[in-house]
C-alpha cells in the first residue's frame, strides 16, 4: 500500500506539471485536430454522408474522435515520460528513493490519466459547442477517466519495456492507431462484415468508444452496461499489469 505519501504526491504532481509545462505540445494539438475534423466533416462532407443510427455523421464521429485523443494523450504521456527518464538518466535518481513500485506506477499513471482527461474534457467542450448532445454528463466524464487511466497504465508498461523512441513510435503507429480506427470511430461496426465485427468485439477501444457514444448520443453498438463493465475490468487489468511489470524491475533495474 501507499505509505510514502509525500513522495507519491511529489511524483504525481511532477508528472502532471511536466506535460502542463509544454502545453503547446500536449494540449493544443488534440484540440486543433478535433476542430479540423469538425470543419471537414461538418462543412465539406456533411451532406454527402448519410446519418448513422439517426445521428448526423458529423456528430456521430465526435465521441470516437474524443476517445482517440484521450487514448493517444494518456498513452503517450506515461510512455514518453518513463522512456525519457530512462534515456536522460533521471530514472535511476527516482528508483533509488524510498518510493515503492506501486507508488511509482500510480504516479506515472496519474500523470498520463490527467493529461488524457484534460484533453478529453476540453474536446468534450468543443464537441458540445459544435452541437453534440451530452445525455449523461456523469457517465461521459467517468468513461473518459476510465479510458484515460487504462491507457496511461498501458503507456507506462510500454515505456518501461521500450529501449528507444523508435520502439515507442512503432507501438503507437502499428498498435494504438489501427486499434483506434478499427474501434469504430468513423463507422458503426454493424456496417462491417461478420468476421471484422467479431474482431472488433475483443478490441478495448471499441468498448471505449461505444460507452462514450451511448453516454453522449444515446446510441451505441454494444449495450451500455456490458461496455461499461468491460472498461472497468480493462482499467483494473491494465493497472495490475503496469504495477506488476514495475515490480519486476524489467529493463529499469539490472
Amino acid at each position: 500500500m501507499i505509505s510514502n505519501w509525500v513522495g507519491f504526491y511529489t511524483l504525481s504532481s511532477r508528472e502532471v506539471m511536466r506535460f502542463f509545462s509544454v502545453w503547446k505540445q500536449t494540449i493544443i494539438p488534440g484540440v486543433v485536430t478535433t476542430l479540423l475534423y469538425i470543419f471537414v466533416f461538418g462543412v465539406a462532407l456533411e451532406n454527402r454522408i448519410s446519418e448513422i443510427d439517426g445521428v448526423s455523421y458529423k456528430i456521430y464521429i465526435l465521441p470516437g474522435l474524443l476517445m482517440m485523443n484521450v487514448i493517444t494523450n494518456a498513452t503517450a504521456n506515461a510512455a514518453s515520460s518513463m522512456l525519457q527518464m530512462k534515456l536522460l538518466q533521471t530514472l535511476p535518481e527516482l528508483l533509488i528513493t524510498p518510493l515503492s513500485s506501486l507508488e511509482l506506477s500510480l504516479s506515472f499513471i496519474i500523470g498520463g490519466a490527467v493529461r488524457g482527461f484534460v484533453n478529453g474534457a476540453l474536446i468534450l467542450l468543443i464537441c458540445w459547442l459544435a452541437g453534440m448532445p451530452i445525455n449523461n454528463l456523469f457517465f461521459t466524464l467517468l468513461s473518459i477517466f476510465l479510458v484515460s487511466w487504462s491507457f496511461a497504465s498501458l503507456g507506462l508498461l510500454i515505456g518501461q519495456l521500450s529501449d528507444s523512441w523508435d520502439q515507442l513510435a512503432l507501438i503507437q503507429n502499428f498498435v494504438i492507431t489501427p486499434f483506434s480506427f478499427l474501434g469504430g470511430i468513423f463507422y458503426s461496426i454493424k456496417m462491417l462484415p461478420v468476421w471484422a465485427m467479431n474482431i472488433s468485439l475483443v478490441n478495448p477501444i471499441f468498448y471505449a468508444i461505444s460507452t462514450l457514444r451511448y453516454a453522449t448520443l444515446g446510441v451505441a453498438d454494444a449495450s451500455f452496461k456490458s461496455s461499461f463493465i468491460f472498461l472497468v475490468v480493462f482499467a483494473t487489468l491494465s493497472t495490475v499489469a503496469a504495477v506488476k511489470t514495475m515490480q519486476t524491475g524489467k529493463k529499469i533495474r539490472f
Binding site: 510514502n4 509525500v6 535518481e93 527516482l94 533495474r253
Partner: protein, 308 residues
Amino acid sequence: MENLGIEIVNLHKKYDDVHAVQGIDLSIKKGEFYGLLGPNGAGKSTTINSITSLVKPTSGNIKILGKDIVSDFRYARSQVGIAAQELSNDWFFPLEDLLYYQAGFYGVTRKDAQQRIEYILEKLGLYEHRKKKMRMLSGGMKRRLQIAKALVHDPQILILDEPTAGVDVELRHDLWKYLKELHAEGKTILLTTHYIDEAELLCERVGIIDQGKLIVEDTVKNLKSMVNKSGIVIHTKDRGLNLDQLLDDFKPSITHNRIEILTKTPNIDLPKIILKLSENNVIIEDIQLPQASLEDVFLELTGRKIND
C-alpha cells in the same frame, strides 16, 4: 553490527556470461570515508548500484545502518544519497524545482526542504543558477547539481560514483574540500574512483577491487607500506669511498653518485644513513624520499597499471 554504515556480505552479480562481482564483502563504519579503487569495469559501479537497488544482486546481503536493503527498503534508501557516474538531464524544470522534487521523493515536504536546499545551492555555487533549466548549465554545474540531489534529504551515508570524472582541476579541488567538510560533519562516505590521488587524499580506508573481487583493503598508509618501494635516494658529491661496503646494512643500489635504498621505514633509516655518510666525510648533495603510491600497490597485486 550497530556501528556499521554499510555492510555487504558475499555479494555476487552475474550478467549472462559475465561474473561482474564475485563474492565481495565490505564493512564500512559509520562516519568513515572509504574509497573503492579499481580500473574501469572492475565491478565498482555494480557493487554500489547493488547498495541502491539499481542492480539486483544474484546473491548476497546488504545492510544500511543495520537494516536490510530489501525488507527495510524505505529506511535503507532514505539514509543513502548517491551521485551516479552518468550525468542525468532534464528538459522541463529549473534546477531549484528539480531539488524540491528530489527531496519530495524522499518524503521531505517543500517547506521542510527549503532551508536545506538554499544552503546546498549556496554551498555548491549554484544559487544564482537556480532558475535555469539543465540545458543552460555547464558540465561542471551539472556535476554539482548531481551532488546536490544526493544531499537534499540529508542522508547519513553518501555514495559518490566517480564524482570527479571529467571535471576540471579547480572544481575537483572544490569538491574535495566540500567532501572533507561533509566527512567532518559525520557523514559516512563511499567513493569510487580510478584517480589514485583522490583516494589517497580523501579516504581513510581504501579497498582495491579488480575483476569483481576485493583484492585488498586497508588504510592508505598500510597499503603503501605493503610495497617495498618507499625509498631513499641520495646524491653524493663524488663516489669516493666504497659506498657499497659502507651502507651494506641497507642493501643499496648504487650507480655513479646515486644511492638508492628501498625500505619500509625511511624515517628510521634515513638518520642512520646520513650519520654514516657524514662520519666518512661523504658530501651529500641531495636527498629524495620517493613515496610508494596506491598505483604501485595495484601494480604489485595485479601486475597491471590501474588505468591500463
